[in-house]
Symmetry: C2
Subunit: 228 residues, 2 copies
DNA sequence: TGTCGATATGACCATGTGGTCAACTCTGTT
DNA sequence: AACAGAGTTGACCACATGGTCATATCGACA
């Protein structure tokens, strides 16, 4: 009865992985309705029947992808307290989010497409886990404002600002490449963008940057960049 | 030969308008592939044949919508020079973009969906008009930096930051409503968000806010009720 | 009344859709 | 060699898709 499950799990895991990657690309660019199982199968280099054999149905495949992306997202969210340094926390958040967007641009676009169509599959997540996460952050930001550690800006809008700014570079890559006339955004672009965002957002809400030597270097990176 | 063309142009204009509005909603939430003519027809309250009679084909309808959105966008873009006040220009840009997003959320989402799938219909626009617009702005921003009127931030990233931050409130409305637990974003929300963005972005790149009487009046006009 | 062009729409078509199924191969175990 | 179960796949189904077309209705004008 094949008590050794590595071989068949091997094939299964391998094929599922191929399918997930392909599906992420197709769903990301065409949304749920616009993506066809046939297109996903072709992107994965497998017959349609084989894809359905592994994933069961288009819907299950889509949900699996969303869950994988939410898991990545949750793994990124570390906890903070009001005694932490605002500059470190904000900069850490920006850099984490930017790294996530950089490492999983397709997943990021998938998420964007899902929300664009009204988040039919993510209502629960948005109204549950994510809402609580945002609210707890917001409370800490408010305490910082009261302590005079940052300007009295609305913490929820601040979180959305960081969100949108970082998300943008994955979702609107076509626009950015078209306008900057590049073929792709390189590692140095991402570094420069990240430093830029840290500079503007921290300064913009009156947060003192993490005062180590690093931040000085970061700022000079911004001016030094010529990669556009 | 019905030299009076108002009556039949009347019906045509009226129906085309209904169809465009319906199509904008459907395309915005499902993308080009995911939208079906049938769904558009139902949203418009017309038989499918009638829709095709007016718009010719799904593709023509989609292109017409993109062009309408680009026209709105272009109408917003006023010209600037290096002698203008940075604060006024930046704040004006943020407020214009925010107003556009507010007034045409569906069009904004349509644009987002198009860019998400790699901008297949907008390549030309992105590489042409829009690129030139961004570059000319960037040059002015750079002169301002040299004059010490603002921090030496990369002007292109700054434009994208404003873009993303304003676009976000239309494109990700579902997410925002889910997290803030509201039914819809009201006029006061938009005012608060706009003021917040002006504050953070101008301060963030070291631009002195417009401080003359005019902009003070402007500020009160827009704010009207409560500051963030 | 009859004519004419714009408007309206159901019937229809070729193709694409998600999904099922039976038949097949492959691989490890007895 | 025989078996079992995972993996594989083409044929197939009911239905949706974008688009065409013939036909029917409408409103203005003669």
């Amino acid at each position: 009865m094949t008590s050794m499950n590595s071989p068949e799990l091997g094939t299964r895991a391998r094929n599922e992985s191929v399918i997930l990657e392909a599906a992420e690309r197709v769903f990301a660019s065409h949304g749920y309705r616009g993506a066809s199982v046939q297109a996903i199968a072709e992107a994965a280099g497998l017959p349609k029947s084989n894809v359905l054999y592994y994933v069961g149905s288009k819907r299950k495949l889509y949900v699996a992808l969303l869950e994988r992306m939410m898991a990545r997202w949750n793994a990124m969210l570390d906890d903070i307290g009001e005694d932490d340094d605002p500059g470190e926390v904000l900069e850490g958040f920006i850099r984490s989010k930017m790294r996530l967007t950089r490492q999983h641009p397709q997943g990021s676009r998938l998420f964007a497409a899902e929300v664009l169509q009204g988040a039919p599959f993510l209502q629960e997540y948005l109204h549950g886990e994510l809402r609580e996460w945002v609210r707890s952050r917001a409370r800490v930001f408010e305490r910082w404002s009261e302590k005079g550690l940052m300007d009295p800006v609305d913490p929820v809008w601040l979180i959305f600002l960081i969100w949108s700014a970082t998300q943008h570079y994955a979702d609107f890559e076509a626009q950015i490449l078209g306008i900057t006339d590049q073929g792709a955004l390189g590692e140095s672009d991402y570094r420069a963008i990240t430093d830029f965002l840290c500079h503007v957002i921290l300064k913009g809400c009156g947060v003192r940057p993490p005062s180590d030597v690093d931040s000085e270097r970061h700022y000079q990176d911004i001016q030094g960049k010529e990669t556009t």
